[in-house]
Each structure stands twice: as C-alpha cells, then as structure tokens.
Amino acid sequence: MHSMMLVGVGGQGTLLASRVLGHLLLNQGLDVKVSEVHGMSQRGGSVVTYVRWGKQVASPTVSKGGADYIVSFEQLEALRWAPWLKKTGVMVVNTQKIAPMPVITGAAAYPEGILEDLQANGARLVTCDALPLALEAGNPKCVNVVLLGVLSTLMDVDETCWLDALRACVPAKVLDMNLKAFELGRNACR
C-alpha cells in the first residue's frame, strides 16, 4: 500500500496532477483511490489531494505520518503538511513562495528557512524551482506537470507509462506544452 499527497494553493492545478496519477496507477493494474475536496477551500486556500494505491485500498484519505510521497506545490504548504510525511518518505517541493492573506495583511510572517528546518528534522526533500521551468515550457500553469516530471524520477514506473497517462488526461491543445514541462521537470533533478 502506498500513499501520496499533493498539497498546494487553490488554483495551482493539483486536480489535474492527481488525475494523471490516478490514470497512471490504475494502468499498473493496481487498486487506486484519489480524494480531493472541491468548493470553498479552492479559492486560494490550502488544498490537499490524497492518492492511494495497492492491492486493495480502503480509506481514500492519508493519515498523519502515513504519506510515502508528498508533492508540495509551495514552500509553506510543505511545512504545513510535513507531519503527514512518513519518516522514510520523500517530499518533492516547489521552492515557490506564495504569501497567504494573514502574511499579506501583516497579521503573520512567512517563516524563514522552511526547507532547511524540514531537512534538519529528517525529511528527505527533492526541491525544484518549478515556475521558471513552467514558463520555459510555455505557461506558468504547467507547474503541476513539471512537478510530476520530478516525481517520476522517484517512482518505479516507466517513463512511457507517464507519457501515456499525460496523453490520456491533458487536453490535446496544451499537450505538447505539458509534455515539454514533464521533460523539464524530469531532467531538473538529475
């Protein structure tokens, strides 16, 4: 049984990324559950998607200390969800910072040194500055697929399966851009 979480800020494209993962894992012949929350929290709030796969999956959600993988689309969200990462797990972190409203209004400060702190506490991190790569691919919205490219280097699934899943889930008119984003992510952390 494996558990993954995609965490980020509403609007960053975690839902498409989870769709690609669901397709990928189901095609490996595994039982898969993908759980997401729609509605109010999506409006720029902290969002989380759970992906679980194995022989038979019961709970659609992931418990604290239960995630083998966390893909964080933003640094503060990496900090927020770190308690869900298994001590043996790995976290892909987009180094982008997006200030939440309490920081914008001055009610709170954006913490300094998040990545260093998580590493000091034993988290295995793979970091990537995904936004410039997404822009290089052609659109800032491709951050999600850049991060899938990074993730693909950490999972034991053939690249061709990833590409098939992308072709199946990404709309045709933006497919080439996303395939490029995937390759840029895949090569970024080698």
Binding site: V34, R43, S59, P60, K64, P83
Partner: protein
C-alpha cells in the same frame, strides 16, 4: 474495463444506466458534479432549478408522469426541499424517484454539518449509503428498483469523501425504463386530509415491509474477521477497514434506513464488544440502544467533525503515528476572494461606510475575512434579505446604515421572497445583488439570470431589474453599478440608504474566473511613487504583496488588471500595463 470515477460521477452514471429520463437539481458542494455529469448524457433531460424545493417538485412531477426521475442536493438543500419530501413520501412514485443528498462532515464547504439520516427517519423513506464509487453506481441503479418495488421515493446519502473520491468502477449499458402510463388517481396523488390519512397507514406498512426487507437485502453485509465487532456505513467503513483491517469484524450497512434489527442483534451477539462507527449523530447507536444492545459509540467519538483511520486507530487501539515535525509555525492559508473578484470592491466600500452587512451563501461569504471583514451575519440561502428586514424593523434607525448582499443565483434561489417581505411590509432596507452572471462558489453553474441552460444552450432569462420592479421596488430605487467602480458604488449607496423606501443596487460584473471574461494586463507599481503606506492592502487582494523594500509589488502571475488597488492608491503609484 475498470476506470477511475468520482463518486458523484458514478452516481450520475448510475442514473443513466438505470434509465433515468429527468434530473433537476440546484448546485451545492459536495453534490454539484452529480448533475453536471448527468448533463453530459443526452438520454436524460437535465436542468438547474432555481432551488432544491423546485428541483424536487419537478422531479416528483416527472415521476408521476411515469419516468424515472432524479434530484441531487447538499444537506442544507434538503432542508429547502423538505416540504415536498415529507408529502411525496405519502404519494409514492410512478416512475422511480431517487433524491441524492450529500452531507459535509467537517464542513469543508458548508455552514453546518447536519446529518441527513434524520430526514430518512422523519419522512419515513428508505436511505442507501454507498462506501465508494463502485457502490455509488450500483446503489443508484438499485435505488430505482427499490423505489418502484416499494412505491416510495428513495434517498441516496453521500458524504464529502464519497462524493469527492475517485475509485474504480465498471460501466454497463443503459436499461431503457421507458415512460409508464399516467393514470389519474386522486386518492393517491392529491394529498387532502381525507386521502392522506389512509396514505399514512400505507406509509407505515411500507416501512415495516422495508424493515423486513433490510434483514437480508443485498446492501447490508457481514465481514467476519477479528474479535472486535464494528457496525459502520459509508466512509466510516473505509476508515475502519484501514485502521483495524482483519483485526475486526464488520457489519457494513448500505441500507441505513430502516435498520435491520435482527441482523444487528445477531451480529452483536457474536462479540463481547461492538463499536458503532458513524460520523455526526448517533443514529445507528441510538437504534441499537433502543433495542437493548450495549454498543459503544459516541461516548468515545465526537459528534463533531469527520472520522479518519488515525482517529479510529487512536481511540480503539491507542496507536498513533508521527511524521516529520518542525519547530516552525505555519501561518494559516484561508480561502480568499480571487484576484479581480467583482465582490472585493463592493466590500471595500461597505467597510469604508461602516455599514452593517447582512450576508448570504456563496463565494462572497469570504468577505467576512480580514482585511475586508465586511460581514455581520450569514445564516442560509436568502437570509441576508429577510434577516435584514427583521433587523431594521426592530432598529428603524439602522435602515440607513445597513445592507443585504446576495448573489444572483442565491437571489433567485431564496432572495425574491425576502425582498417581497420588505416591499409588502413597508420596509426601507437596501439590498445589493452581487450579480456576477454565474453560480460561482460551486464552480460556475448557469442560473435563471444567465440566459443559458445547464447544457449552455440559450434559455429564458430572468431580468433582475424587471423582477425587482414587479415585486414593487420603485424603479428609481433600482440602480445598476459596475462592481469595479468604487466611487459609483459609494455614491449609489449613500443615495439609496438615505431613502425611506426599499432599494436594490445591482453590482454587475462577471466572475473573474469565467473564461469569457477578458482580463486587462497585470498592473505594476512605480517604486518611486509608492510610499509604502499599505493602503492598497486594505482590499485583501492576493496579487498585492509587500516586497523586501517595504513597498507594494503586484504579482504579475496573479493580477488580472481590475484596477481596484490603483483606485485606492493616493500617490498614483499603481497603474499601467506590466509590459507597457
């Protein structure tokens, strides 16, 4: 071939496979995607109704006409539809009738976390509760057979985690249920007291028959394993399986009303200790206790919020898992109004004028958060208008210092009657209709004011101005203001609030997320002019940030050029296109 499907999409698929011909719903998280997915099947007539009461009544009509019919809503939507629900229970069905209701334990996107199982008990209706997408599809289909076999509407209960989780389903073909004959039958279909009295007797007989059916129906099953007995349904079945695995035995209920008394007694007899795991209210536990069974439930678990595998493992096994800890505190990231949101400027003006604001249900409820902090109250769909009327009747002086804010879709849902109350009873209140030309929070559904159907086909369009005039709001007191026009909004508000008569201000600007909306280029700040006064932060726009030099900086990846911040800046520091 198996494929991953959202629980809500699987319910939609189930209606299609069951031969449903008619679906009418009002959007509400977490139920919305059911009807959106149904709208993609051309074999089913589908529509967004103005509210859940109308939706269920329309579905009742379709059922009486002989077609299999469907309606979906969130838990609070069933409150709105409760009136027809309780009486259609007496009438029963011609074509099968299924009403899906999605509860939201934990309140991911709701104003309360009521437990809809009480409605099944109170309205005396069978209720099915699936535990994954495969069951969502199968139970929906089976619900139609149940409905026609027992001559009853059937409730299908979902929760957020079932509605919004994808799991594997196997599709099959559509059963062509056709349209049954319609035969006039007033004794069954006209609920006057003389007819309703014998119908009530039949309802009680039907419930007894359903209770007998529940004892060995295909929806309830026992899975024998370890020595702990667990009674559960829906998502808590999945959480319990995850936490306890083969260490427990399960009575997994799929038909959650009526409950099978003998099946439960037999199950309990096999174990020293039986736990009832159910989110929110102790419906099953209370039933067990009423039948003399000493089960454990809410003494150990909260009535509030969601269950989870970790909660069950912690309470029943004393096991906790720990992940990566950090000494750093993560500031919260609450949801916010989007960059370019037409509601933002309106709230800025309301706050500036220090008005009491009677709020409503929609994206614009986010105006409660800092720094806008604009709302005083929010109850339910439509309450902004009617509650303001009551407020101002008790405090007449407040009519000049208060407004209601309500979205276009919410106004059509439940605001019209409140405005009628103001006009009819000589109120002086001012109502702002936040008309963003769409139902926003639930993800862009058409509504009676948009001129498009659920399938984006041309439709009859309700004209808000004429509607308000028709109710009796004086024409000169109905104003349309562009939502981004801060000065225009302030002037209109001052004029309308001063009048001792009902007023309506329609703040008009389509939702910034609509694909049809063309955005202006991102703005930029002139660092030489910016004094770092932070006035622009008062609008609470995620694109307006503070840079390392203590000056305003516009995030070009978020900014849609709405210009609110530049209207507020007294130093002319914000403006111009980013690439100019």
């Amino acid at each position: 071939m198996k494929q991953l499907m959202l629980g809500n999409a699987a319910v939609a698929r189930g209606t299609w496979e069951a031969g449903v011909r008619f679906a009418s719903s009002y959007p509400g998280t977490p139920s919305t995607e059911i009807t959106e997915c149904i709208s993609r099947f051309d074999d089913i007539y589908s529509e967004w109704a103005p509210n859940e009461k109308v939706a269920v009544e329309a579905a009742i009509g379709a059922s009486l006409a002989g077609a299999r019919a469907f309606s979906a809503m969130k838990h609070v939507g069933l409150n709105v539809a409760a009136d027809p629900l309780f009486t259609v229970s007496y009438i029963g069905v011609n074509g099968g009738l299924v009403i899906a209701v999605a509860d939201d334990p934990g309140m991911h996107s709701s104003q309360n976390e009521q437990d809809s199982r009480h409605y099944a008990q109170a309205a005396k209706l069978p209720m099915l509760e699936p535990a994954d997408s495969g069951e969502c599809l199968a139970f929906t289909k089976a619900a139609y057979e149940l409905s026609e076999r027992f001559d009853t509407p059937v409730l299908l209960r979902l929760t957020t985690r079932i509605s919004h989780s994808q799991s594997a389903v196997e599709e099959s073909d559509r059963f062509e249920a056709g349209v049954k004959d319609y035969v006039k039958d007033p004794a069954k279909n006209v609920m006057i007291p003389a007819h309703a009295r014998p119908r009530h007797v039949l309802v009680e007989k039907r419930m007894a028959e359903l209770a007998a059916y529940a004892e060995d129906c295909p929806f309830n099953r026992v899975e024998m394993g370890g020595k702990i007995g667990v009674i559960c349904a829906g998502d808590t079945y999945q959480y319990a399986k995850e936490a306890l695995g083969d260490g427990a035995s399960y009575l997994k209920l799929g038909l959650v009303n009526p409950l099978p008394v003998n099946l439960i007694k037999d199950f309990c007899a096999r174990f020293e200790k039986v736990y009832v795991l159910e989110e929110m209210d102790p419906v099953i536990e209370t039933f067990c206790r009423a039948n003399g069974l000493n089960v454990e439930g809410k003494a150990l678990f909260s009535l509030c919020g969601e269950y989870s595998p970790e909660l069950i493992a912690s309470v029943l096994l004393g096991e906790t898992a720990e992940g990566i800890t950090s000494s750093l505190q993560a500031p919260g990231r609450p949801p916010v109004l989007c960059p370019g949101c037409p509601h933002r400027g309106v709230y800025f003006v309301l706050k500036k004028l220090k008005l009491t604001v009677s709020g409503d249900i929609g994206c614009y409820t986010l105006g409660v958060a800092a720094p806008l902090s604009a709302l005083d109250t929010t109850v339910c769909m439509g309450a902004s208008v009617s509650a303001l009327h009551g407020f101002n009747k008790v405090r007449p002086e407040s009519a000049q210092k208060s407004v209601a804010v309500i979205g276009d879709s919410t106004f059509m849902h439940s605001g019209i009657t409140g405005l009628t109350d103001i006009v009819y009873n000589n109120g002086h209140s001012t109502v702002i209709i936040l008309d963003n030309s769409i139902t926003g929070m639930t993800g862009h559904q058409q509504n009676p004011t948009t001129g498009l159907t659920i399938k984006n086909q041309p439709a009859g369009k309700v004209d808000l101005i004429k509607l308000c005039e028709g109710i009796g709001v004086p024409s000169e007191n109905i104003r349309v203001v562009h939502s981004y026009d801060l000065k225009g909004m302030e002037a209109a508000l001052k004029e309308e609030l001063a009048k001792e008569a009902p007023s309506v201000i329609i703040a008009q600007m389509p939702c910034a997320l609509l694909k049809t909306v063309k955005h202006a280029p991102a703005l930029r700040t002139d660092p030489d002019k910016c004094t770092g006064c932070k006035a622009c932060f008062r609008i609470g726009c995620p694109a307006v940030t503070l840079n390392q030099n203590g000056k305003c900086e516009i995030d070009a990846s978020l900014c849609v050029g709405c210009g609110l911040c530049s209207q507020i800046c007294k130093f002319g520091a914000i403006g111009g296109a980013h690439n100019a």
